[in-house]
């Protein structure tokens, strides 16, 4: 089965260290699920135990796929727009013209910060676009932000 792929695009990938951030987050929720499962097991209520077991298995599979998922995140700065992709099972491609930019956010969570990573969010007037590039090094994120602001300025469009 051929995968959905855009022609003539060389994706810029994000830092592989993002895997650790994602794993930490996933492991955190897995621990919560397992703890709840143990409590339910001790109370001998079986239906929640089964449900939590299924959730735990999904979470483990999800954790195992994390490195691939991180590798699937990519972006490209084209002449007039930003191209972004993510996902392996659920693939998502978005193209945003620079001129549509309303603002750029840079966020750093505690784990990402300890690994020197940032997340860049490109905000337009449409809430559904959701272009959030995680796993950029701090220098990269700031450089990308400044670049985006300057190209948006020269290509400014209305709402």
């Amino acid at each position: 089965m051929e995968r959905l792929e855009l022609p003539d695009v060389t994706w810029r990938r994000v830092s592989p260290r993002l895997v650790w951030v994602e794993l930490a987050g996933g492991a955190g929720s897995l621990v919560v699920v397992l703890a709840a499962g143990v409590v339910m097991f001790l109370l001998q209520v079986w239906i929640p135990v089964a449900a939590l077991g299924v959730i735990a298995i999904v979470a483990i599979v999800n954790l195992a796929l994390t490195p691939r998922r991180v590798r699937s995140i990519g972006y490209q700065l084209r002449e007039d727009d930003l191209l972004f992709r993510r996902g392996i099972m659920w693939q998502r491609f978005v193209a945003v013209p620079y001129g549509r930019m309303q603002l750029v956010d840079i966020n750093r969570g505690p784990i990402a910060r300890s690994l020197g990573l940032s997340e860049l969010k490109f905000v337009t007037a449409a809430a559904a676009a959701g272009v959030t590039i995680p796993g950029l090094t701090e220098a990269e994120a700031e450089e990308l932000r400044d670049h985006l602001v300057s190209v948006a300025e020269s290509r400014r469009a209305g709402l």
Partner: protein, 533 residues
């Protein structure tokens, strides 16, 4: 008046404006309509006072007639303790404070309109100052509640993109409101020179002229009556051939065939079955509140949709409605982010369609059916739809596109749209044949639904970004979904179960079109190209 701001892109226009508007738009600070405090809260005060006085009337009568003692009453307490003077003084002080509060608040509430911005400052202790750029105006709404109409006052609401980002000028003189809106839009449009105002001579202008000649009470009364009886849409404001009206019968029929009616009928059937099975009439009692609710909804919807007109003015689409309280809004070109033409199964019999839009602003005043102001055409036939689309997208929709859209709305497939392949029938068993997209000059069309027919039009310059998605199920079927991102609203412009290769081509092409259309767009100053003498 001569040009006094040479550097500004818009100059103050010549003597064509009626005196009131020329004065309001001279860039100085002005106050609102003198009846404003009364309309905003004064009536409540009068009602409360009236209530107190009517209660005291018995008391006043009792003073002169043979009295009998009741006791335990605040008034008795006051009388028996001999503090009448103090209490009266306190009441008087309270009244004076309230009235002077209203008065000061009116004095402190002022606005100005320059060639670039409209600015409002208000508040006594907590001052607010709101400044809005004219070229960012998303629409101007004029609302005339019934009581305000009696005073010849109107609310002007200038919509800007964003939440709670509107500038309210309430209240203004009703006669000046329409002309003021036209003048604000003219400045916002970026027209470079003063404009001849040949066909724009309006009723308001004439009444302004009357105002200067006749000042007596009789003339004032005549003018109010004339304003109340005037048609909702000023016949001079728009060329009559561009006006789309909603016929009374169609309005009634559309409500009868609406979703609400279906639910009501189902409820009635359910109740009938329940009664026949259990023989218990108690359920009727339970249903009473909902019957009243439904009735109220229909009456309100009906009375508010009366005199509904959609008209093309030089500065955009004007949507107006209302019998007692009237409301009308002008949307300048390029302020409509996506358009949806839809038809439910029940409406298909009659051939009726509805048009909704996504817009960047959120007005606080409600539409005719008490919905948010996103329904432009509550009900209309194919000809009405074509006319309204042409009014909303005058630059993009010509004869050819119009015909294309019309076939697209009703066809069952094979019509110039890129429709889904047969394998999409797994996901769209009824509609796969007409589940498709098309790119026409200036806009993008998505068409879907066989039972609930829908056609979504996104003007290319309004497109924010474009997305392409594929989940595991779609991948197995070699399908994908495309998403056109616009500002939030009732319409979500996406199309599922499209052939993978076609979706990819669409994505690539639209991404390029979005860039080009965005750069070529000048609609924030929609008439900046024109140079009228």
């Amino acid at each position: 008046m001569s040009e006094h701001e040479i550097s500004a892109p818009v100059s103050v226009s010549g003597g064509a404006l009626p005196g009131v508007v020329a004065r309001l738009t001279d860039g100085e600070w002005h106050r609102l309509h003198p009846a404003t405090p009364l309309l905003k809260g004064g009536f409540a005060l009068i009602v409360v006072l009236g209530y107190i006085v009517s209660n005291l009337r018995e008391r006043l009568l009792g003073m002169f007639l043979p009295r009998f003692d009741e006791g335990g009453d605040p008034v008795d307490y006051v009388v028996s303790h001999g503090i009448i003077l103090q209490v009266l003084a306190a009441v008087a002080l309270l009244l004076v404070m309230l009235i002077s509060g209203f008065y000061v608040s009116w004095r402190m509430h002022s606005f100005r309109i320059t060639s670039e911005v409209v600015e409002v400052r208000s508040g006594i202790l907590f001052r607010t100052n709101r400044k809005a750029r004219l070229d960012r105006i998303q629409g101007i709404n004029i609302v005339r509640p019934f009581i305000a109409r009696l005073f010849g006052a109107a609310k002007l609401e200038i919509s800007q993109a964003g939440n709670d980002a509107n500038v309210h000028l309430s209240y203004l003189s009703s006669a000046a409101a329409d002309d003021l809106r036209r003048e604000i839009l003219r400045r916002a449009s970026g027209t470079r020179a003063a404009e001849k105002s040949g066909p724009e001579k309006s009723g308001a202008e004439k009444s302004a002229a009357e105002q200067s000649t006749a000042g007596s009470i009789g003339a004032l009364f005549d003018r109010r009556v004339n304003e109340l009886l005037a048609p909702e849409l000023d016949p001079y404001a728009a060329p009559p051939e561009s006006v789309v009206k909603i016929h009374l019968g169609r309005l009634f029929g559309s409500m009868l065939l609406g979703t609400g009616t279906v639910i009501a009928v189902l409820v009635v059937i359910g109740a009938a079955i329940w009664i026949s099975v259990s023989g218990d009439l108690f359920v009727l009692l339970l249903a009473l509140p909902s019957i009243i609710g439904f009735g109220g909804y229909y009456v309100r919807r009906f009375s508010q949709s009366l005199r509904y007109t959609i008209a093309g003015t030089p500065d955009g689409v004007r949507v107006g409605f209302g019998l007692f309280s009237t409301s009308n809004e002008t949307l300048p070109p390029g302020r409509i982010h996506s358009i949806e033409v839809s038809q439910s199964l029940l409406w298909r019999v009659a051939g009726w369609w509805q048009i909704r839009v996504n817009r960047a602003s959120h007005t606080s005043s409600r539409g005719s059916a008490n919905q948010a102001n996103t329904t432009i055409l509550p009900v209309g036939n194919l000809a009405d739809v074509a006319a309204v689309l042409k009014l909303m997208l005058p630059d993009f929709i010509g004869e050819e596109t119009s015909a294309f859209i019309e076939t697209g709305m009703t066809s069952k497939g094979a019509d110039g749209f890129t429709n889904s392949p047969l394998r999409a029938a797994w996901l769209r068993p009824f509609s796969w044949r007409r589940n498709g997209f098309a790119i026409v000059a200036g806009s993008l069309l998505l068409r879907k639904g066989a039972i609930w027919r829908r056609l979504i039009i996104v003007p290319q310059p309004r497109l924010q970004s474009v997305g392409l998605h594929q989940g595991p199920l779609l991948r197995r079927l070699r399908l994908a979904s495309v998403h056109l991102h616009t500002v939030n609203g009732p319409i979500t412009a996406d199309l599922g179960a499209v052939d993978q290769a076609a979706a990819l081509a669409f994505f690539t092409e639209v991404a390029e079109l979005a860039v080009r259309a965005g750069q070529a767009d000048t609609s924030h100053r929609w008439r900046s190209g024109e140079l009228s003498a």
